[in-house]
Symmetry: C2
Subunit: 366 residues, 2 copies
């Protein structure tokens, strides 16, 4: 890393902050930020807002105008060399006379994957790669997961009491956590290309699973609403079917599909003979639909099933400062775990207060 200076870090950190501005709108595209610097002065900045709109580099070049000539470009992700919905950024950087390009992360997207860097070098532009790549990998983990694993990044959100209860035995669960926690969930939703739940939750709570916080700059996007519903028990009157955005219902048996499609759902049959829809198949299908991040908001059955099958990349628990006791429903249904050796270890990456509740963010260890 000795090839990078403290000044390089300052500019790349700024580019990273710019990239983050696209967190609610850029997907399925990666968030990207770009800073142009000439003679120590920032002459242009840009970030990518949404698919079909200008890339970060183009916006920064436009802002810099003639000052782009001889400048160094700090870009969080390798510039594209191919014609996509917009013209290739490499050509624009070359045309503008940029002297050097510093890139945090090579784009693993097969359409880029080093070709952007090669094209820059071929045009005589100096390139350096790797500065703050870890931070960018973290920011783009959903995009990277889809492109490299053909599977979205799966974030499982639960709301529980301090003693691990998500509802009373009667099903009563509104509300376990406070208004601030629910507002925070709006941000998790807006970052996601899909929100997944099980048919049990639809039948019990009839959730809308939409982004309703208008202060979030999500470019009007609604994540797919995804319901795992083996036998198509989804009610035609389900709230989510009437809302903006698309509802995808995954099933094993699709006899009743017609009425549901009429009601506005997209019904997708996946192969499987278990008593739950094959979640891995669903995730692959969602990756094909360009979903980078899936937020799961489900009951103990689907949540436990995803954990048992190792499909959860991140767990976000909103823990309310209450004791709910024994006449309740626990967080995860895991019928196959019978000894202490079956439990799963977590690596906690963040703990913070959200209103009166505590938000715990964790990944499964090893």
């Amino acid at each position: 890393m000795s090839e990078f200076t403290a000044t390089d870090c300052v500019h790349m950190a700024r580019a990273l902050r710019l990239a983050e501005r696209g967190q609610y709108s850029a997907h399925p595209n990666p968030m990207v930020g770009c800073v142009l610097v000439r003679d120590g002065e920032v002459v242009g900045e840009g970030w990518h807002k949404a698919a079909g709109e200008a890339h970060a580099e183009i916006i920064a070049l436009h802002a810099a105008g003639e000052k782009a000539s001889g400048a160094t470009a700090y870009v969080t992700l390798e510039p594209c060399a191919h014609q996509g919905k917009t013209p290739p950024c490499v050509a624009a950087l070359v045309d503008a006379g940029v002297a050097e390009v510093v890139v945090a992360l090579k784009d693993p997207n097969p359409a880029v994957n080093g070709q952007g860097l090669q094209a820059l070098a071929g045009a005589g532009i100096q390139t350096r790669v790797g500065l703050m790549h870890g931070e960018v990998e973290l920011l783009l983990r959903g995009f990277l997961s889809r492109v490299t694993r053909q599977q979205p990044f799966v974030r499982l959100k639960m709301a529980s009491s301090l003693d691990g209860c998500i509802a009373m035995a009667t099903g009563e669960s509104q509300w376990i956590t406070g208004a601030d926690a629910r507002a925070d969930v709006q941000r998790l939703r807006a970052r996601s290309g899909a929100i997944m739940t099980g048919i049990g939750t639809v039948l019990a709570d009839d959730p809308s699973l939409t982004v309703r916080d208008t202060s979030l700059d999500n470019d009007g996007k609604q994540p797919f609403r995804v319901v795992l519903d083996r036998n198509l028990r989804m009610p035609l009157s389900a709230e989510m079917l009437a809302l903006a955005g698309r509802t995808l219902v995954y099933c094993h048996r699709d006899k009743n599909r017609h009425a549901l499609v009429e009601a506005g759902a997209q019904v997708i049959k996946v192969e499987g003979d278990r008593d739950t829809v094959d979640a891995k198949a669903v995730l692959h299908d969602l990756a094909d639909r360009q979903v980078n991040d899936v937020l799961v908001e489900a009951g103990p059955r689907l949540a436990g099933n995803l954990i048992e099958n190792g499909l959860v990349d991140e767990l976000v628990i909103y823990q309310s400062p209450h004791i709910m006791g024994s006449e309740t429903i626990g967080m995860f249904r895991t019928p196959t775990w019978t000894t202490l050796a079956d439990r799963r270890a977590l690596e906690i990456s963040d703990v913070r207060r959200v209103g009166a509740d505590t938000r715990i963010t964790a990944r499964f260890a090893g």
Copy 2:
């Protein structure tokens, strides 16, 4: 509070730190610290180690020698004016020619309760009261609870996974939390006059409930081991009966008491017709035995019973970063709580990492 200066605060804070040194040994006496200051110089310090040993003031006066004359004494608790196991401190302060006594907290003990301050004033010594009384009340909450409520301060300790499980359904529970958490529990035990559990835990785990950490300065004391055992099912072979210290077994029916007493237990019958021993009666009896602090280390049945009955003053949860799932036992058995309105709100006072685990300290709100 304008009668106290910043310098007063510095000296009282030091006295408080000194008092804390007695946390594992002073009980049933209160922890007390004393600092003697003359002309801005600390000329003597003392803290109370154990019942029967010198009080903090006496130790500080001894350290100061002739320099005590004209000094200001900072004492965390009102000096005693009565002859106890040791001579009264007020007389010693007067004899030494102390000019002023600053006291954090009036001693609510009926044998003191203002008489110490009156005696000092009567001898022409200036007194000021109330500096840092809140901190001292927190430090002495066990002592104050016993003296003012005739009931010890009850601290309920639980070890659980992040999803609120304390054992597998099979009973397997060793170990939910790590070695650091268990070492921390040793400190909770050493601060307590009694450790309480239920007969179910004795039959399942045969715990020893002793202070084994020899690095803790507990003056060789072992807390009472207290077992709630309605029908005297306590096995004569129970580990704790063979260990140093006393085991108190509280029951409703004491037919089999003889063999258990032979085995080393003290059997105490309390009135009651419920299916669990009346915990409130047990706590009153423990207060009569001069227990300031009770640490409860019990299963979900006794833990839930104590919470349902509002007898828990502080909850300490060691939460391990694991998911244990559904084939498990939850933290609290609370058969009477059937709606969300029955849940109990907590005020979390402290959250910190203990090894890989998180320790959450809370009190019940309102």
